[in-house]
Symmetry: C2
Subunit: 338 residues, 2 copies
């Protein structure tokens, strides 16, 4: 199943996120407690559905970024724990709704909530978690943080609708595709990073630096994710490889292979992604075309480009363990593909 992707450059060892995990371990313990507390409800089905997803072993990258981005500016208090939990709830709500929208059966190697409790529960528990996220933000009381996170909520939904409208349209350009992932993925990373300096009362330039870091990290993260869906190994990925192909999603590897292809190859893409002729043979063929045109290494190259911007966004900040850890995250996101 796994395909070895010829990356050309990048021979160094993939950096991990051990530094980040170590730095925010204390805060993440409280985030995890808060997740359990705030996903609770007298309505039995709510914690059942929520815990199914919450306990399924996501990396919790976004809340870790929020914690590190606050502690980087010497924040002392509990507000960043609440904001980090809000960010994770917004993410979880999005996943619940996404699975309904995409009609996904599996996520992180487990059946999706909608397969167990139905679409209805997934929609409503997502709504509940979003409501809880806002309540926690309000408790923190920072209007600036509220503004950033509520704007992200709108933009994420806008991105999902954009993606729905672009679905199965192979004429989607790379720019249009970037606009989609900027909204549906990068906006939350950006907000997660920016609320750190906000709650710490850091300077405007620090807010801008973290916002830019998060945005570009998010773009890189999503591009690598898209490449992994064609090049990764289902076990490592914790989701079904080939999902994007079967769902007819137009991601950058497809955009590149389609635009660089012959007329006959473009006809293949149309039949498989627009008309649903997407069995395993078609998937292997798709992978072959991506190999032929270097679509996966070039997608990673694009990710690397945004990763560089993320790194440069943090460059002016004074050295700190948090800065080091956040720089490692960039490398971690990109090197997942190796």
């Amino acid at each position: 199943m796994g395909v070895v992707i010829p990356l050309g450059e990048s021979k160094k060892e993939p950096a991990g996120i051990e530094k980040l995990i170590g730095l925010v371990a204390g805060g993440m313990e409280r985030v995890n407690e808060l997740i359990l507390a705030k996903a609770g409800s007298d309505v039995e089905m709510i914690p059942e559905v929520a815990n199914h997803l919450i306990s399924s072993g996501g990396k919790r990258l976004r809340p870790m970024i929020t914690l590190a981005a606050a502690e980087m500016f010497d924040y002392h208090g509990e507000g960043h724990v609440k904001l980090a939990t809000s960010v994770e709830f917004m993410h979880t709500a999005t996943l619940l709704h996404d699975d309904v929208v995409d009609e996904s059966d599996m996520r992180r190697s487990k059946p999706t909530a909608r397969m167990i409790w139905g679409n209805q529960a997934s929609v409503l528990v997502g709504d509940f978690l979003l409501g809880q996220a806002f309540r926690m933000m309000v408790e923190v009381g920072s209007l600036d943080a509220l503004e950033v996170l509520s704007a992200a909520a709108s933009v994420i939904a806008e991105g999902e609708v954009m993606q729905l409208a672009a679905a199965k349209n192979l004429e989607t350009t790379e720019d249009e595709y970037l606009a989609v992932i900027k909204a549906k993925t990068a906006a939350l990373f950006s907000a997660a990073a920016e609320v750190g300096p906000i709650i710490a009362g850091a300077a405007k330039s620090d807010r801008a630096a973290l916002r830019s870091y998060g945005l570009n990290l998010g773009l890189a993260f999503q591009l690598v994710d898209d490449a992994l869906d064609y090049g990764g190994n289902a076990k490592d990925l914790g989701k079904n490889t080939g999902d994007d192909f079967r769902e007819g999603k137009i991601t950058l590897p497809v955009v590149l292979a389609y635009r660089r292809g012959t007329d006959a190859e473009r006809a293949f893409w149309k039949s498989s992604l627009e008309n649903g002729e997407n069995d395993d043979t078609a998937l292997e063929n798709a992978r072959g075309l991506m190999l032929k045109y270097g679509a996966l290494p070039d997608t990673i190259q694009r990710a690397r480009h945004f990763g560089e911007i993320a790194r440069d966004a943090l460059a002016p900040l004074k050295p700190s363990p948090q800065k080091d850890a956040l720089l490692d995250v960039v490398e971690f996101c990109i090197s997942r593909i190796n």
Copy 2:
């Protein structure tokens, strides 16, 4: 199709909401402009879906209540217009998600958004409107108003999940049913009313009065709605009469008729609501049993009870045109059934 409900008492002319409409006309013009502006997006599908529902002629009762509840305490400014619009967006988002959850085909005499654009767009545009609602609240900048409205968002979703869990369970008690509608309907009416005095900087006792008014008005409103689904006329109602029956929803008229029935009648309720034998003949039979046991007039009687509590909640407030108008709303909600 329409069934005349013997209400027993209540012979007076149904009061209207003309007073309320007249009082808040200026504010509602700005609410309507804001609705159009904030439902806008470069992503074409979003305003299409949003406008379908927004332009479908709901009464906009909730935002009118917010405006009147603020003006009642001499509020001058534009914050109440934004909060009223937020409330309407929260309501619209709930409707979009409800139609998906209930698999409804028609609402307000028009096909539901999900029938035209699909479940996916309904889920996502609902999410977008919820995000926009929060952005507007944040713009207003009142943390108290944010707290009340974000709590309502969680509670509404909780109520919907409760309803889902109770669906097709005829052993639901009246208390359990009241807990559902308190969460899914009354919480938003309550929040819509309470944010008025909040933004006007009124006293705590005024907040409590309006909160209680909204909560009980909401309960009365939902109970009458439930009765209308069995006793109303499809044209007046703007939705399909009998929808609740076909969807297997356990509402108070059903709870009463079921609990008061014979074993044979209870077997009928089980076959129709739990097992889906719900054709037109079954619906007529259900209506016959409700008539036999006075289930509809007693549901209205319960609504009247909450209506009285709503009226008494406002009693200590000094006379004002807004107070008169809000008292009329209670009578309007209940007399819809005549």
